[in-house]
């Protein structure tokens, strides 16, 4: 039986995917649920649509809370809904549980939420193998796959039920409805390993807010790739006018000042690939985060490097541009112009934290 709610659920999903009722799309927000992994809170994307109504905004608003704290201490960001019992409405009794999630579960949630395709194998030697396994049964199929035992049992059962079966003369003749066939399901065997290069612009124009965005996005991409490959190694490269390789901690904490020369990072990345991660053996991902404020004459060199060296070697090159109050953001357009329709180059602009989900989708939605 089709449950009643399924109709509503499908309808909602269609709206979210933009299939119907485009007028509602602008109210979609990425609500979130909070999960916890390894002592760290992570938010899980959960699209929500709120119908507009006359409601209070933030200016002048407030409420009552409970707990310790000094006067003036912040208790929540403005983006959150103002908390309070007035909001609770007629919702049924429920309470939040804090549960540890494994990284695999997180990846599944992410894949679910963003409808990410599984990554397609690259090349031949080192692939995420897909094999067919005969694990299922279905009603139709070629005769060569007929499941003899099951077909026989069904035929027997039918004949007994319809009193056609005669124990003296046990002849069982299957008819079309009795026949069952083996069917197969694809099974994935991750065999290969991948390497992810995170490149980040740490020039003076990148602020802490932007680094936070990079950190969140890197975390999710890591989580997803780890669920798709046997082993994933990560390398971190920071650059301003010169590039250097650093460890993860430094990557997220460094703040340099000075100019930007993006080509320095690409050159370094290319060197590391050549010496340590030959493309024949590795699935290579290069993700570059910047505010797009490059030293003008460097752009041409970057594009040459990308076209001639990096792009032929990598599964995916992703460039995410975080919007910054200082950056000009021209690099994005440079790339957009230079590489139209290159399948393994993904560009995305991240305006704010809400933009992270779209950006992840832009990167990983290609299934490469």
């Amino acid at each position: 039986m089709v449950r009643k709610i399924e109709r509503d659920q499908n309808r909602f999903r269609q709206i979210v995917r933009g299939k119907i009722k485009a007028d509602l799309r602008k109210y979609i927000s990425h609500g979130e649920m909070i999960g916890k992994t390894g002592g760290e809170l992570v938010s899980i994307p959960l699209p929500q649509i709120s119908i507009p109504e006359f409601r209070y905004g933030r200016n002048g608003s407030g409420g009552v809370g409970q707990g310790p704290g000094q006067i003036g201490q912040p208790i929540g960001r403005g983006g959150d809904a103002p908390p309070g019992p007035g909001q609770a409405g007629d919702s049924p009794g429920q309470h939040l549980l804090e549960v540890e999630l494994t990284l695999d579960e997180l990846a599944e949630i992410l894949g679910d939420g963003l409808e990410l395709p599984r990554i397609q194998p690259k090349g031949k030697a080192n692939i995420v193998e897909e094999k067919d396994r005969y694990t299922g049964i279905r009603q139709t199929g070629p005769e060569s796959l007929r499941h003899f035992k099951r077909t026989y049992k069904r035929a027997l059962r039918r004949q007994i039920a319809s009193r056609e079966y005669n124990p003296e003369q046990p002849r069982v003749i299957p008819v079309r409805e009795d026949k069952l066939y083996r069917s197969w399901n694809p099974v994935h065997f991750p065999h290969s390993s991948a390497v992810v290069f995170y490149l980040m612009d740490v020039s003076g124009s990148m602020t802490d807010d932007q680094k936070e965005i990079v950190r969140i996005e890197a975390f999710w991409i890591d989580t997803w790739l780890r669920s798709q490959y046997d082993g994933v190694s990560t390398r971190y490269i920071i650059h301003d006018a010169v590039a250097r390789e650093v460890d993860q901690d430094t990557f997220f904490r460094t703040r340099e000042s000075g100019g930007t020369r993006i080509s320095s990072a690409y050159t370094l990345c290319n060197q590391i690939i050549d010496s340590e991660h030959p493309p024949a053996d590795w699935n290579i991902y290069v993700l570059h985060f910047s505010d797009g404020d490059n030293w003008g004459e460097d752009n041409r060199q970057c594009i040459t490097l990308l076209r001639d060296h990096l792009l032929p070697k990598v599964n995916l090159f992703g460039y995410a541009q975080v919007e910054s109050p200082y950056g000009s953001g021209e690099f994005y357009h440079e790339l957009e112009e230079a590489f139209e329709d290159v399948p393994n180059l993904a560009l995305s602009e991240i305006r704010d934290r809400d933009g992270i989900y779209d950006s992840i989708k832009a990167f990983l939605g290609r299934g490469r």
């Binding site: 009643k4 709610i5 399924e6 109709r7 509503d8 659920q9 309808r11 909602f12 999903r13 119907i20 009722k21 007028d23 602008k26 649920m33 959960l46 929500q48 649509i49 119908i51 507009p52 109504e53 006359f54 409601r55 209070y56 905004g57 933030r58 200016n59 002048g60 608003s61 407030g62 409420g63 009552v64 809370g65 409970q66 707990g67 704290g69 006067i71 003036g72 201490q73 912040p74 208790i75 929540g76 960001r77 403005g78 959150d80 103002p82 908390p83 309070g84 019992p85 007035g86 609770a88 409405g89 007629d90 049924p92 009794g93 429920q94 309470h95 939040l96 549980l97 549960v99 999630l101």
Partner: protein
């Protein structure tokens, strides 16, 4: 033949548990409707919860959204619905099949608390106690409209109605503000009989010119004429029930009227639950804790019970938990009335030591909380029983939004401020108060709404989109008078353009200031 056993029926062990708990509840003085428990899997429970408790609700995408949230939250182990109870006679309540026995006890006892509250609290008196059937009818009607006029058409009209759903007059079930009118009452516009002449006092003939001087009579007649010549305001008094006003006066087709009236009647049905959230949950929690801890809990269940009870009562990350606030207030009231800590003598006493020792052994606590649950709603409950002592003991604070750094910050721990904030967030369910000021604005059939301003701005983009929905129903230009950063402002939508215009003051401009094309 034995009747087929419905898989949702209560299994025998839970059935006997129900009888036991029901007996205790009755014994303790609770007074409730018959209760029908059903056991459900989590998926089924999520479905019913998403539908607001009514399995037969009309189809709409937002129930699908709720469902997705609830079932995902459960699947990922992030949240869990414990209990679901419907204000109806008989009262329906749902149990989660996979719960432990101690949880089932807790939920059942909790449900009897809610049930008693539904039956006895005055806010619920005007609600329809056969809502199960009514909602099923609503579902059928809307499904029929969908078949005839198309799913998309009807659903998007529902969207528009829902956008205005909060514009009801929550007090109207108790106050008759005016005679109802119907759009089919054609006689109403006919002029009455000849208006009676000017009032004359009775007087002897010779006294008449002095007692009823002719000039005064003429004066009276003139003013009466002027009165009738002046245009009647429409509506006569500002109408808080905007949905009713639209039902009576908006140019809607009959199926649209039907849909709008369904949305309105469900909004009125759910309103009392929102208006008594703190009390209702507090009351139910008070009783599950009383029944379990004094009557039905087995020693082996104690730890699990304590764990789940405290899980429900915990304030989540500094926020106020209505369950917790409610149960503590009820306990506080019970204790105060047991010890006689009320009345002028108590108020006047400012000797801290004496107050602490104060115990007149009155034992009126139980009686008092039963009275409180009958006559109060959240606003009056907080207004009457929140005390400075209570705020201090429970570490309450008020917070506010600071626009300079985009953060909510702790504002104060003063009693007055806390109470003010709390009452504000409860008044009209924390929704802006909006009424129809003029249904024939500028004599062009435009709709003019007015919002009472209490220092909190509306969310502007939402308000404009809501006007757009309102325009769909009213079809003529619509206006909302509100305040933006303290300045009176008129938001208008004429079907294609939004305008924002400051009203009056030095900045008055006759022409719209901000003209933006809709996106």
């Amino acid at each position: 033949m034995a009747p087929a056993l419905n898989s949702h029926d209560l299994p025998p062990d839970l059935r006997s548990l129900q009888l036991e708990i029901e007996a205790h509840a009755r014994d303790l003085g609770l007074d409730f409707f018959d209760t029908v428990f059903e056991v459900l899997d989590y998926d089924e429970l999520s479905e019913i919860a998403a539908l607001g408790g009514f399995p037969t609700r009309y189809p709409h995408w937002r129930f699908g959204m709720e469902y997705e949230q609830l079932s995902k939250g459960y699947r990922y182990g992030l949240q869990k619905i414990y209990e679901m109870v419907i204000n109806n006679d008989p009262c329906y309540a749902y149990l989660l099949r996979c719960n432990q026995r101690v949880d089932q006890k807790l939920v059942m006892a909790h449900v009897y608390g809610h049930n008693d509250f539904f039956k006895n609290n005055h806010c619920f008196a005007p609600t329809n106690r056969k809502m199960m059937d009514e909602v099923a009818n609503h579902g059928n009607r809307i499904r029929r409209h969908m078949e005839r006029h198309g799913e998309d058409t009807v659903e998007s009209f529902i969207d528009s109605c829902l956008s205005l759903e909060n514009l009801i007059d929550i007090h109207s079930p108790f106050i008759r503000r005016r005679d109802g009118s119907t759009r089919y009452d054609f006689d109403a516009d006919e002029p009455d009989d000849q208006p009676p002449g000017p009032a004359r006092f009775r007087a002897k003939d010779y006294m008449d010119p002095y007692i009823n001087p002719p000039e005064a009579l003429r004066e009276q007649a003139r003013s009466r004429e002027a009165e009738s010549a002046r245009p009647q305001p429409f509506p006569e008094r500002p109408e808080r029930d905007v949905l009713l006003f639209l039902l009576e006066h908006a140019p809607l087709k009959s199926w649209q009227l039907d849909v709008l009236s369904i949305i309105r009647s469900e909004a009125y049905y759910f309103a009392p639950q929102a208006a008594t959230k703190i009390m209702n949950e507090g009351w139910a929690s008070y009783w599950h804790s009383t029944i379990l801890s004094t009557r039905v809990l087995e020693p082996s269940e104690l730890v699990d019970y304590a764990d789940h009870h405290s899980g429900t009562m915990a304030p989540y990350s500094g926020r106020l938990n209505p369950y917790k606030l409610g149960i503590e207030l009820f306990r506080d009231i019970e204790e105060r009335w047991n010890k006689g800590q009320f009345g002028p003598e108590w108020e006047a006493c400012d000797d801290e030591a004496a107050r602490r020792r104060w115990d007149k052994q009155l034992g009126l606590g139980r009686q008092k909380i039963f009275e409180v649950r009958r006559i109060h709603n959240d606003v009056t409950f907080i207004d009457t029983f929140l005390t400075p002592d209570f705020c201090r003991r429970h570490n309450l604070f008020s917070f506010r939004y600071n626009s300079s750094n985009d953060l909510y910050e702790i504002e104060s721990r003063e009693f007055k401020k806390i109470k003010e904030r709390l009452l504000f967030s409860l008044t009209n369910f924390g929704q802006p108060i909006i009424s129809v000021q003029d249904g024939n604005y500028r004599n062009r059939g435009e709709l003019y709404l007015h919002q009472e301003y209490f220092g909190v701005d509306l969310k502007l983009d939402d308000a404009q989109d809501t006007l757009r929905h309102l325009h769909r129903l009213w079809t003529r230009p619509v206006h909302l008078e509100t305040c933006v950063e303290g300045r009176p402002t008129l938001l208008s939508f004429d079907g294609s353009d939004h305008t924002i215009r400051p009203l009056g003051g030095p900045n008055h401009e006759p022409e719209p200031k901000d003209r933006r094309r809709p996106g």
